[in-house]
Structure formats: C-alpha cells, structure tokens
C-alpha cells in the first residue's frame, strides 16, 4: 500500500507554537508575507465572494460599475463646463482619466475600513492571519478599475478616436504603482478603525478634500501660479501621490490639450513606486503590531 501525503504529514514532528516567541520587525514582516502567500486561496475566495455580492444586490448588477464613473463624469462636466464656464478641449475625457483611478482608490479604502471590523465574529472564533482581510478587499477593488476600462474604451472609440494613442499601454504600469500605494493605505485604515470607529466618518470628508487638492478636475499646469500666492498648498500638492497618478493617467489617456500624446511622469512614478513600497512595509508592521489586540477589542 502506498503512503499518502496525509500520513507523511502525520509522521512529521508536530509544530510548536509558543506565545513566548515574539518576533521583531523583520520577523513580523516575514510572517505577514508568509501568511498572505500561504492563504492566497482564502484571498481568492474572499475576492470572489465580494464580487459576487456586489453584483447581486442591485437590479443592474455589475452594469453599475460601468455606469457609475460615466454618471460621475456627467456631474463634473455640468459643474465645470456649464456652471464655471471653463473651456478645456474634450473635457469629459480629461476628467474621466482622473475619475477612474480615484473611484478605484476610494472604493478600496472604504472597503478596507470595514474589512476587519466586519469579520468581528470570525476573528473571535478562529485564529487566522487578519492581514488577509484588507488584502482581499484591495484585490477585489482592482475589478472596479478593470470594469472602468469598458466605458473608457467606449468613450475613446465613439467620441475621441483622434486621441487614441499607443501610450494607453502604460495604464497598467501606473495602476501597479497606485495598487501598492492603495494596499499600504488599506492596511493602515483597516487596523486603526478597529480602535477608532471614527475613521469611517472622517475618511469621507478627508478623501473629498484629497480629491480637490489633486489635479483631477484641473490640470497641474492650471494652478502653476498657486506656487506664488499660496506656497503651502502648492507644497502639499507636490507631495501628493495623486498628483503623479492623475497627471500620468491623463498624459497617456488624454494627452496634451492640443491632442498630442504624451508620456507618464516617469521620474515621479519611480519615486512613488519606491515610496509606496516603503509605506507598505511600515503599514504592514503597524497592522501586525495592532493585530494581537483585535480579538480583545472587537
């Protein structure tokens, strides 16, 4: 009779788990990576469950993911073009290039905030790596962005075919940097919200302010003179990752106002890739330090 894998596993010396072992920062980081990797199947199930639920509770289901950014675009176009009478050529596409990544970011952040507190009962019943929860919501959020590519393709093909350029292939590169940043941000809000439920209320306003302080509705060039009149705001904008992201997305999707294709802000993007990885490491450490208290506080 051949020996099955189970039997081998049973023969192996039992693993020792001791509460006396308290890893340092490097140990915690290694632990987080091992946990996420060994539970990748769980992340996949959670992502699938999330997508299934989001699609099923409304009449139009996933069609909302396509309609939502379009409707938001219409709102901003009415506000800026009709009320404020600003004239930017092809403004709907101009603003759409910022709405897509921003919707992705905010929906990921909102989902991450409730990711840990929403699994309260489970956390008190089973020992599992809690870092899986914000990781799963952040991965599920990518679908939001991916679905947004459908209305983008539609807009480009139907109304702005002259603006279609090969630089569109750089979208995934910019999105990759944004993903790392979003993941770091998600870990922080998910962990802190366990202790302070205010995060959910604060974030709604903080995110809106963040959007207006980022060159989404306007281009960075349009506020050049702010550097002289209000240097503080200009400074804040310069260290804002969404300055880099919005400008880069807009360059590859919209191009210049005249319609010439242009490149992402490569230097800024590289800096934010490094910066986001550093933030991700710090956020992971923060989350792992808070994690042992979750079951007691929830």
């Amino acid at each position: 009779m051949d020996i099955t894998r189970e039997e081998i596993a049973r023969e192996a010396p039992p693993s020792l788990r001791s509460t006396a072992i308290r890893p340092g920062p490097i140990g915690l980081l290694g632990e987080a990576i091992r946990e996420a990797w060994s539970r990748r199947r769980l992340i996949r199930y959670l992502v699938q469950a999330d997508l299934k639920k989001k699609g099923s509770d409304t009449v139009l289901g996933n069609i909302w993911w396509v309609l939502d950014p379009l409707l938001q675009m219409v709102v901003y176009v009415i506000l800026v073009s009709v009320i404020f009478q600003r004239t930017t050529p092809d403004y709907p596409l101009f603003i759409f290039a910022a709405i897509l990544p921003w919707k992705w970011f905010t929906s990921s952040v909102y989902d991450a905030i409730t990711s840990v507190v929403g699994q309260e009962r489970l956390i008190k019943q089973i020992q599992f790596p809690k870092i899986i929860l914000p990781t799963a919501t952040t991965f599920a959020g990518v679908a939001n962005f991916a679905f947004g590519m459908i209305p983008l393709a539609g807009l480009l093909a139907l109304f702005y075919s002259d603006r279609i350029s090969p630089t569109l292939v750089f979208i995934p590169l910019i999105a990759a940097v944004q993903f790392v940043f979003t993941l770091a941000f998600s870990f922080v809000v998910a962990g802190i919200n366990v202790f302070f439920r205010d995060i959910a209320n604060v974030s709604r306003h903080a995110l809106r302010l963040w959007f207006y302080l980022s060159p989404g509705l306007y281009s960075a060039a349009a506020i050049e003179k702010l550097k002289e009149t209000n240097p503080v705001i200009a400074q804040v904008m310069a260290i804002n990752p969404f300055y880099t992201f919005f400008e880069s997305y807009r360059n590859v999707i919209y191009g210049t106002p005249a319609g010439a294709p242009s490149m992402p802000l490569w230097g800024h993007l590289a800096a934010w890739l490094v910066g986001s990885i550093v933030l991700l490491v710090l956020a992971t450490l923060l989350f792992k330090r808070l994690e042992p208290a979750f079951a007691k506080v929830l």
Binding site: P14, R17, A20, L46, K124, I126
Partner: protein
C-alpha cells in the same frame, strides 16, 4: 447518549501537547468595542477613577498530555471561553506562556463566520480556507460535509434562507470535518434536533478517540464525568480545583449550591426590604 466510550487512563510518560504556565489575560476597559476618539479623550481625562483593566484569567498553569480529554467547567463569566480563545491563539496572553505542539482546531460557537449572501457550498470552502485547510483536502471532504449536515438541495441556496438549526448543522459538520491534533470544543454538544444531537455526539466521540488531546468547555456534567479523564474548575479567572472529573464536578456542584443559597438569601432580603 452514546454509551461505553470512556477514555482509558493516559499512558505514563506520554508527551505534553499543551503547556500553560502562569497564564494571565487582561482586558483593557479603556480600549473597548466601538471606541471613538471622543470617548478616548474622555477616558484620558478620567484616568484616575475606576480600574483601567481587569484580569479575565490569572495564574493559570496546567498541561495537557497526549490522549487526554480535559474538561473546563465553572460558572458563567469564569473565563472558560477566554481560556479556549487563548489556547486557540485567538487572543495573546498578557502574561505567562502557552506552548502548543501540533495543529490545533477550535470548535467555538458554530457557524459564526458564515456569509449569509453566499451559498452553503461557498461557505464550506470559505470556512475551510479560514481554518487553514488545504483546498484540495477540502474539495475531497466537501461531499461528506454536505451529507453529514443533511441539507438536501439547500446546499446551493444562500445561507440567509437557512433556519437556525440548518446553520448549526452546517457549522458543526464543517468544524468536525477536519482531524486536528488538538481539539478545542466550546459547548457544541447541544445543537439541533434529537437525531442530529445523537449524530453529533457520536462524531465528537470519534474525534475524541482520534485526537491527541481535547480541551472542552461544557455545562453538561454527565459528559464530563463520562468522557473526560481530567477536569479543571475555573472561578473568577482562577483555577480552584483540578483533577478527577467526578471530584471536580462535585466541588463545582457544591459551590453552585452555595452561590444559589446566597442568591436566594439576597433575593429574600431585597423582597423583605421592598415590603
């Protein structure tokens, strides 16, 4: 009741699977559920009055050797569930140390983590993944889980359509589908109708015989004296008695009688004062 499966005496020199030394679990009263920034500030200002924390468990030391079945009994709020949570690794000790050798599985409240929007089948896979089971292993066991839970075609309907009994049945059959080295049970013996209860008791006994060690929390004293070879009596976070199940159960009965008598006297006094 399922009869005649009383565990034999543990062989001398059997290896230790759980070792608990001077375990203490402290809960902070400042940082509790649904805290907001406002409350935290208020707590900071009120720092001096009232205790800021309490010990749910203190000075707990015991060992579990291979093949043992240990019962933890005691009144409500004694810290029994907290002890199981600490053993399962769900909460970390504030002081002392817990060493566990082998894979541990906890059957605490059943069906806690179900996602009401998903089908029974999806929930089985999700629960398995949460418990850290290999997905191939889970795929192999899913049919027997479904069969044991006896849900019929409901298995492909979302959990929100299930009755409480159906949920409990599914929870029980998922939780017992794995064969861990060490099993932690919290009051899982009284679920469902009579038939399912008998079925589940038989399953637990099967696990008891197969597992290397069991720790269970229960109010069913017959179970303790019949199927456990050691018992611990917890009161207010401390071990007050440990040893032979029959003796510990007797002490527990005696203490509960005393508490009952005290409460009756107290109630009589309150009534007398009201009159």
């Amino acid at each position: 009741m399922v009869e005649g499966v009383s565990p034999g005496p543990v062989q001398p020199g059997a290896p230790t699977v759980i070792e608990v030394r001077d375990l203490g679990v402290r809960y902070s009263l400042r940082l509790t559920r649904k805290n907001t920034v406002r409350q935290s500030f208020a707590n900071l200002l009120r720092r001096r009055d009232g205790p800021s924390s309490f010990w749910a468990l203190r000075n707990i030391s015991f060992t579990l050797t291979k093949g043992e079945s240990l019962a933890i009994i005691g009144p409500n709020g004694a810290g029994k569930s907290t002890l199981l949570q600490a053993l399962a690794g769900i909460i970390t000790p504030s002081e002392g140390q817990i060493d566990v050798r082998g894979q541990i599985s906890s059957l605490l409240t059943l069906g806690a983590g179900f996602d009401a929007e998903l089908t029974g089948r999806d929930n089985i896979l999700l629960a398995g993944a949460f418990m850290g089971m290999d997905h191939r292993e889970m795929a192999r066991r899913i049919d027997s889980i479904i069969e044991f839970a006896d849900l019929g075609q409901f298995i492909d309907a979302s959990i929100k359509t299930y009755s409480t009994g159906m949920r409990a049945r599914l929870g029980f059959s998922i939780a017992t589908a794995i064969d861990p080295d060490i099993l932690l049970l919290d009051e899982v013996l009284a679920t469902g109708d009579q038939v399912f209860r008998a079925k589940s008791q038989a399953r637990v006994l099967e696990l008891v015989r197969a597992a290397k060690g069991i720790v269970l929390v229960t109010h069913d004293m017959n179970w303790v004296t019949e199927f456990c070879n050691r018992a611990i009596l917890l009161e207010q976070g401390h071990i007050v008695a440990e040893g032979d199940p029959a003796e510990v159960v007797a002490i527990h009965r005696e203490h509960s009688e005393q508490v009952k008598a005290l409460k009756a006297a107290e109630a009589a006094r309150v009534l007398a004062a009201a009159r």
